[in-house]
Amino acid sequence: MNIWKTISVLMFLHYALVLGQTLGYQSGSAAVTLLMPLSIEAGNGDLDFGDIIISDSPHHEILNPTNGKEFIVKGEANRSVTVIFDNAELNNYEWSSLTGSESGNLEFIPDVRVNNSQSVNSGEAIILDKNGLVGELKLNVGGSIEIKSKQPSGEYKGIFIISVTY
Protein backbone atom coordinates (compact mmCIF):
# COMPACT_ATOMS: atom_id res chain seq x y z
CA MET A 1 0.00 0.00 0.00
CA ASN A 2 1.69 3.23 -1.05
CA ILE A 3 2.13 6.21 1.18
CA TRP A 4 -0.75 8.25 -0.35
CA LYS A 5 -3.21 5.42 0.18
CA THR A 6 -2.01 5.13 3.78
CA ILE A 7 -2.69 8.81 4.33
CA SER A 8 -6.17 8.47 2.86
CA VAL A 9 -6.99 5.50 5.10
CA LEU A 10 -5.70 7.30 8.20
CA MET A 11 -7.78 10.34 7.39
CA PHE A 12 -10.92 8.24 6.98
CA LEU A 13 -10.27 6.42 10.30
CA HIS A 14 -9.71 9.69 12.09
CA TYR A 15 -12.92 11.12 10.76
CA ALA A 16 -14.82 7.92 11.81
CA LEU A 17 -13.38 7.98 15.40
CA VAL A 18 -14.46 11.56 15.97
CA LEU A 19 -17.91 10.91 14.55
CA GLY A 20 -18.48 7.84 16.84
CA GLN A 21 -17.90 9.89 20.08
CA THR A 22 -20.62 12.55 19.60
CA LEU A 23 -24.14 12.43 20.98
CA GLY A 24 -25.62 13.31 17.65
CA TYR A 25 -24.67 13.22 14.03
CA GLN A 26 -22.41 15.82 12.61
CA SER A 27 -21.28 16.13 9.08
CA GLY A 28 -18.51 18.09 7.52
CA SER A 29 -16.23 17.91 4.61
CA ALA A 30 -12.67 16.58 4.62
CA ALA A 31 -10.26 17.64 1.98
CA VAL A 32 -6.65 17.11 1.16
CA THR A 33 -4.47 18.22 -1.70
CA LEU A 34 -1.96 15.67 -2.79
CA LEU A 35 1.00 17.31 -4.41
CA MET A 36 3.41 15.78 -6.87
CA PRO A 37 6.65 15.28 -4.91
CA LEU A 38 9.23 17.95 -5.64
CA SER A 39 12.60 16.91 -7.00
CA ILE A 40 15.67 18.48 -8.57
CA GLU A 41 18.10 16.57 -10.72
CA ALA A 42 21.33 17.37 -12.55
CA GLY A 43 21.15 17.90 -16.30
CA ASN A 44 23.91 18.57 -18.79
CA GLY A 45 27.09 20.58 -18.33
CA ASP A 46 29.32 21.41 -15.40
CA LEU A 47 30.78 24.30 -13.41
CA ASP A 48 34.38 23.80 -14.52
CA PHE A 49 35.99 27.12 -15.49
CA GLY A 50 39.00 25.30 -16.97
CA ASP A 51 42.67 26.36 -16.98
CA ILE A 52 43.32 30.05 -16.43
CA ILE A 53 46.69 31.79 -16.79
CA ILE A 54 47.29 34.19 -13.91
CA SER A 55 48.38 37.68 -14.88
CA ASP A 56 49.63 40.60 -12.82
CA SER A 57 46.29 42.36 -12.90
CA PRO A 58 43.04 41.23 -11.23
CA HIS A 59 40.25 40.06 -13.49
CA HIS A 60 36.94 38.19 -13.54
CA GLU A 61 36.45 34.79 -15.08
CA ILE A 62 32.89 34.38 -16.32
CA LEU A 63 30.99 31.20 -17.12
CA ASN A 64 27.84 31.90 -19.13
CA PRO A 65 24.85 29.92 -17.80
CA THR A 66 24.37 28.61 -21.35
CA ASN A 67 27.72 26.85 -20.99
CA GLY A 68 27.32 26.00 -17.31
CA LYS A 69 25.28 23.43 -15.43
CA GLU A 70 21.62 22.57 -16.07
CA PHE A 71 19.29 21.58 -13.22
CA ILE A 72 15.81 20.15 -13.83
CA VAL A 73 13.06 20.70 -11.25
CA LYS A 74 9.98 18.48 -11.33
CA GLY A 75 6.82 18.77 -9.29
CA GLU A 76 3.20 19.88 -9.36
CA ALA A 77 2.30 21.61 -12.64
CA ASN A 78 1.34 25.29 -12.42
CA ARG A 79 2.50 25.46 -8.81
CA SER A 80 5.28 27.85 -7.85
CA VAL A 81 8.52 26.82 -6.22
CA THR A 82 11.02 28.99 -4.41
CA VAL A 83 14.60 28.67 -5.65
CA ILE A 84 17.35 29.14 -3.09
CA PHE A 85 21.10 29.34 -3.67
CA ASP A 86 24.12 31.28 -2.44
CA ASN A 87 27.71 32.21 -3.30
CA ALA A 88 30.28 29.45 -2.83
CA GLU A 89 33.87 29.42 -1.64
CA LEU A 90 36.61 27.59 -3.55
CA ASN A 91 40.04 26.78 -2.18
CA ASN A 92 43.20 25.03 -3.34
CA TYR A 93 43.98 23.41 0.05
CA GLU A 94 44.22 19.86 -1.28
CA TRP A 95 46.57 20.87 -4.11
CA SER A 96 48.56 23.15 -1.80
CA SER A 97 49.14 20.39 0.76
CA LEU A 98 50.35 18.00 -1.95
CA THR A 99 52.74 20.45 -3.61
CA GLY A 100 53.80 22.57 -0.65
CA SER A 101 52.67 25.69 -2.48
CA GLU A 102 50.79 28.69 -1.16
CA SER A 103 47.11 28.18 -0.36
CA GLY A 104 44.34 30.52 -1.47
CA ASN A 105 40.57 31.10 -1.66
CA LEU A 106 38.21 32.22 -4.40
CA GLU A 107 34.54 33.20 -4.36
CA PHE A 108 32.03 31.90 -6.90
CA ILE A 109 29.08 34.24 -7.54
CA PRO A 110 26.33 32.26 -9.30
CA ASP A 111 24.29 33.48 -12.25
CA VAL A 112 21.05 31.46 -12.40
CA ARG A 113 18.64 31.64 -15.34
CA VAL A 114 15.33 30.03 -16.21
CA ASN A 115 15.49 28.27 -19.58
CA ASN A 116 18.70 30.17 -20.36
CA SER A 117 16.94 33.52 -20.43
CA GLN A 118 15.21 35.02 -17.39
CA SER A 119 17.55 35.80 -14.52
CA VAL A 120 16.64 34.33 -11.11
CA ASN A 121 17.43 35.75 -7.68
CA SER A 122 17.70 33.50 -4.65
CA GLY A 123 14.36 33.36 -2.84
CA GLU A 124 12.39 34.04 -6.00
CA ALA A 125 9.24 32.01 -6.75
CA ILE A 126 8.82 30.48 -10.21
CA ILE A 127 5.90 28.52 -11.61
CA LEU A 128 6.45 24.97 -12.85
CA ASP A 129 5.34 24.66 -16.45
CA LYS A 130 3.08 21.76 -17.33
CA ASN A 131 4.96 19.06 -19.22
CA GLY A 132 2.71 16.04 -19.64
CA LEU A 133 1.58 14.93 -16.19
CA VAL A 134 4.22 16.85 -14.25
CA GLY A 135 5.36 20.41 -13.78
CA GLU A 136 8.87 21.15 -14.89
CA LEU A 137 11.43 23.93 -14.65
CA LYS A 138 14.90 24.08 -16.18
CA LEU A 139 17.52 26.18 -14.41
CA ASN A 140 20.85 27.05 -16.01
CA VAL A 141 23.70 28.01 -13.72
CA GLY A 142 26.87 29.87 -14.62
CA GLY A 143 28.67 32.54 -12.64
CA SER A 144 31.84 34.52 -12.09
CA ILE A 145 35.04 34.18 -10.11
CA GLU A 146 37.32 37.10 -9.30
CA ILE A 147 41.02 36.36 -9.68
CA LYS A 148 43.21 38.74 -7.63
CA SER A 149 46.55 40.02 -8.87
CA LYS A 150 48.65 37.84 -6.56
CA GLN A 151 46.25 34.89 -6.44
CA PRO A 152 48.12 31.65 -5.56
CA SER A 153 48.15 29.14 -8.40
CA GLY A 154 46.68 25.66 -8.17
CA GLU A 155 43.53 23.59 -8.47
CA TYR A 156 40.60 25.28 -6.76
CA LYS A 157 37.43 23.40 -5.85
CA GLY A 158 34.16 24.26 -4.14
CA ILE A 159 30.53 23.14 -3.88
CA PHE A 160 27.48 24.96 -5.24
CA ILE A 161 24.14 24.06 -3.63
CA ILE A 162 20.74 24.84 -5.11
CA SER A 163 17.43 24.11 -3.34
CA VAL A 164 13.78 24.32 -4.33
CA THR A 165 10.73 24.30 -2.10
CA TYR A 166 6.94 24.59 -2.51
Partner: protein, 170 residues
Protein backbone atom coordinates in the same frame (compact mmCIF):
# COMPACT_ATOMS: atom_id res chain seq x y z
CA UNK B 1 -5.64 6.53 23.20
CA UNK B 2 -7.81 8.15 20.54
CA UNK B 3 -6.05 11.46 21.21
CA UNK B 4 -2.66 9.77 20.83
CA UNK B 5 -3.76 8.21 17.57
CA UNK B 6 -4.93 11.60 16.39
CA UNK B 7 -1.58 13.25 17.28
CA UNK B 8 0.39 10.40 15.70
CA UNK B 9 -1.70 10.69 12.53
CA UNK B 10 -1.09 14.45 12.32
CA UNK B 11 2.66 14.08 12.91
CA UNK B 12 2.99 11.29 10.36
CA UNK B 13 1.02 13.17 7.75
CA UNK B 14 3.05 16.37 8.34
CA UNK B 15 6.38 14.54 8.12
CA UNK B 16 5.45 12.78 4.89
CA UNK B 17 4.30 15.97 3.22
CA UNK B 18 7.39 17.98 4.38
CA UNK B 19 9.80 15.40 2.94
CA UNK B 20 8.29 15.81 -0.56
CA UNK B 21 8.01 19.61 -0.63
CA UNK B 22 11.65 20.57 -0.89
CA UNK B 23 14.66 19.21 -2.65
CA UNK B 24 18.28 20.28 -3.07
CA UNK B 25 21.28 19.28 -5.12
CA UNK B 26 24.95 20.15 -4.99
CA UNK B 27 27.50 20.38 -7.79
CA UNK B 28 31.27 20.78 -7.78
CA UNK B 29 32.82 24.02 -9.01
CA UNK B 30 36.39 23.83 -10.34
CA UNK B 31 39.00 26.20 -11.74
CA UNK B 32 42.72 25.65 -12.37
CA UNK B 33 44.98 28.70 -12.02
CA UNK B 34 48.34 28.47 -13.74
CA UNK B 35 51.16 30.96 -13.60
CA UNK B 36 52.06 32.17 -17.04
CA UNK B 37 55.46 31.21 -18.41
CA UNK B 38 57.67 34.09 -19.46
CA UNK B 39 61.21 34.73 -20.60
CA UNK B 40 62.91 38.09 -20.75
CA UNK B 41 66.38 39.36 -21.55
CA UNK B 42 67.78 40.78 -18.34
CA UNK B 43 71.06 42.25 -19.55
CA UNK B 44 73.87 41.85 -22.07
CA UNK B 45 73.80 41.36 -25.81
CA UNK B 46 75.26 39.28 -28.66
CA UNK B 47 77.13 42.15 -30.30
CA UNK B 48 80.64 40.94 -31.15
CA UNK B 49 81.72 44.49 -31.93
CA UNK B 50 83.90 45.73 -34.82
CA UNK B 51 86.45 43.27 -36.21
CA UNK B 52 89.21 44.04 -38.69
CA UNK B 53 89.07 41.93 -41.85
CA UNK B 54 92.62 40.48 -42.09
CA UNK B 55 92.23 38.30 -45.14
CA UNK B 56 92.44 35.04 -43.21
CA UNK B 57 90.08 32.88 -41.24
CA UNK B 58 89.07 34.08 -37.80
CA UNK B 59 86.86 32.83 -35.05
CA UNK B 60 85.16 35.24 -32.69
CA UNK B 61 84.01 33.94 -29.32
CA UNK B 62 81.75 35.32 -26.65
CA UNK B 63 81.58 33.56 -23.30
CA UNK B 64 77.94 33.07 -22.18
CA UNK B 65 78.76 34.94 -18.99
CA UNK B 66 79.35 38.08 -21.13
CA UNK B 67 76.60 37.43 -23.65
CA UNK B 68 72.85 37.73 -23.04
CA UNK B 69 71.26 36.74 -19.74
CA UNK B 70 67.63 35.52 -19.84
CA UNK B 71 65.29 35.09 -16.88
CA UNK B 72 62.55 32.44 -17.11
CA UNK B 73 59.57 32.75 -14.73
CA UNK B 74 56.82 30.16 -14.21
CA UNK B 75 55.30 27.64 -11.81
CA UNK B 76 57.72 26.59 -9.09
CA UNK B 77 59.39 23.20 -9.48
CA UNK B 78 57.78 22.66 -12.89
CA UNK B 79 59.82 21.45 -15.84
CA UNK B 80 60.15 23.62 -18.93
CA UNK B 81 61.57 22.64 -22.29
CA UNK B 82 64.10 24.93 -23.92
CA UNK B 83 64.47 25.23 -27.68
CA UNK B 84 66.91 27.58 -29.37
CA UNK B 85 68.54 28.25 -32.72
CA UNK B 86 71.80 26.34 -32.54
CA UNK B 87 73.09 28.01 -35.72
CA UNK B 88 72.05 31.43 -36.93
CA UNK B 89 72.92 32.99 -40.30
CA UNK B 90 74.07 36.60 -40.16
CA UNK B 91 73.89 38.60 -43.36
CA UNK B 92 75.27 41.99 -44.50
CA UNK B 93 72.42 42.39 -47.01
CA UNK B 94 71.22 45.79 -45.72
CA UNK B 95 74.78 47.16 -45.70
CA UNK B 96 75.34 45.77 -49.19
CA UNK B 97 72.17 47.42 -50.50
CA UNK B 98 73.12 50.79 -49.08
CA UNK B 99 76.85 50.78 -49.77
CA UNK B 100 77.50 48.26 -52.49
CA UNK B 101 80.40 45.87 -52.33
CA UNK B 102 79.78 42.15 -51.88
CA UNK B 103 77.04 40.38 -50.05
CA UNK B 104 78.07 37.78 -47.51
CA UNK B 105 76.88 35.52 -44.73
CA UNK B 106 78.34 34.46 -41.43
CA UNK B 107 77.39 31.58 -39.18
CA UNK B 108 76.76 32.12 -35.46
CA UNK B 109 76.91 28.97 -33.30
CA UNK B 110 75.13 29.43 -29.98
CA UNK B 111 76.58 28.39 -26.63
CA UNK B 112 73.84 28.23 -24.00
CA UNK B 113 74.27 27.50 -20.29
CA UNK B 114 71.90 27.47 -17.32
CA UNK B 115 72.49 28.41 -13.70
CA UNK B 116 69.22 27.04 -12.30
CA UNK B 117 67.56 29.65 -10.03
CA UNK B 118 70.80 31.57 -9.44
CA UNK B 119 70.81 35.01 -11.03
CA UNK B 120 74.61 35.15 -10.79
CA UNK B 121 76.95 33.08 -12.96
CA UNK B 122 77.20 30.15 -10.52
CA UNK B 123 77.86 26.52 -11.53
CA UNK B 124 76.92 27.00 -15.20
CA UNK B 125 75.87 23.90 -17.13
CA UNK B 126 75.76 23.64 -20.90
CA UNK B 127 72.38 22.73 -22.34
CA UNK B 128 71.42 21.48 -25.77
CA UNK B 129 68.28 22.61 -27.52
CA UNK B 130 65.31 20.44 -26.53
CA UNK B 131 66.45 19.93 -22.97
CA UNK B 132 63.92 20.03 -20.10
CA UNK B 133 64.89 21.79 -16.90
CA UNK B 134 62.96 22.19 -13.63
CA UNK B 135 62.32 25.72 -12.40
CA UNK B 136 63.50 26.60 -8.90
CA UNK B 137 61.22 26.74 -5.85
CA UNK B 138 60.75 30.43 -6.69
CA UNK B 139 59.75 29.49 -10.24
CA UNK B 140 62.95 30.86 -11.82
CA UNK B 141 65.59 29.67 -14.29
CA UNK B 142 68.49 31.69 -15.68
CA UNK B 143 69.92 31.10 -19.16
CA UNK B 144 73.12 32.65 -20.48
CA UNK B 145 73.87 32.80 -24.20
CA UNK B 146 77.21 33.30 -25.87
CA UNK B 147 78.65 31.66 -28.94
CA UNK B 148 81.07 31.78 -31.86
CA UNK B 149 81.20 33.40 -35.27
CA UNK B 150 83.47 31.99 -37.97
CA UNK B 151 84.87 34.46 -40.48
CA UNK B 152 86.34 33.16 -43.74
CA UNK B 153 89.49 34.64 -45.29
CA UNK B 154 87.57 36.38 -48.11
CA UNK B 155 84.63 37.48 -46.01
CA UNK B 156 82.96 40.60 -47.49
CA UNK B 157 83.01 43.60 -45.18
CA UNK B 158 79.90 45.18 -43.72
CA UNK B 159 77.42 45.10 -40.84
CA UNK B 160 76.22 41.53 -40.34
CA UNK B 161 72.95 40.89 -38.55
CA UNK B 162 70.85 37.86 -37.63
CA UNK B 163 68.21 36.76 -35.13
CA UNK B 164 68.77 34.30 -32.31
CA UNK B 165 65.55 32.75 -30.95
CA UNK B 166 65.04 30.92 -27.68
CA UNK B 167 61.66 29.33 -26.81
CA UNK B 168 60.43 27.85 -23.55
CA UNK B 169 57.32 25.80 -22.88
CA UNK B 170 55.72 23.74 -20.15
Amino acid sequence: MKQNLFVLYILTNFTLLWGQTNSSLQNEIAIQLTKGLSIKAVNGNLDFGSVLSIGSEQTLSKNPQYGVKFEVTGISRTKVSIEYSSNVVLSNFDYFQQNGGSQGNLSFTADVVETSGYSTYVSPKNIKSGRKIRLSSEGKLYLWVGGEISISENQPIGDYEGTFTITIAY
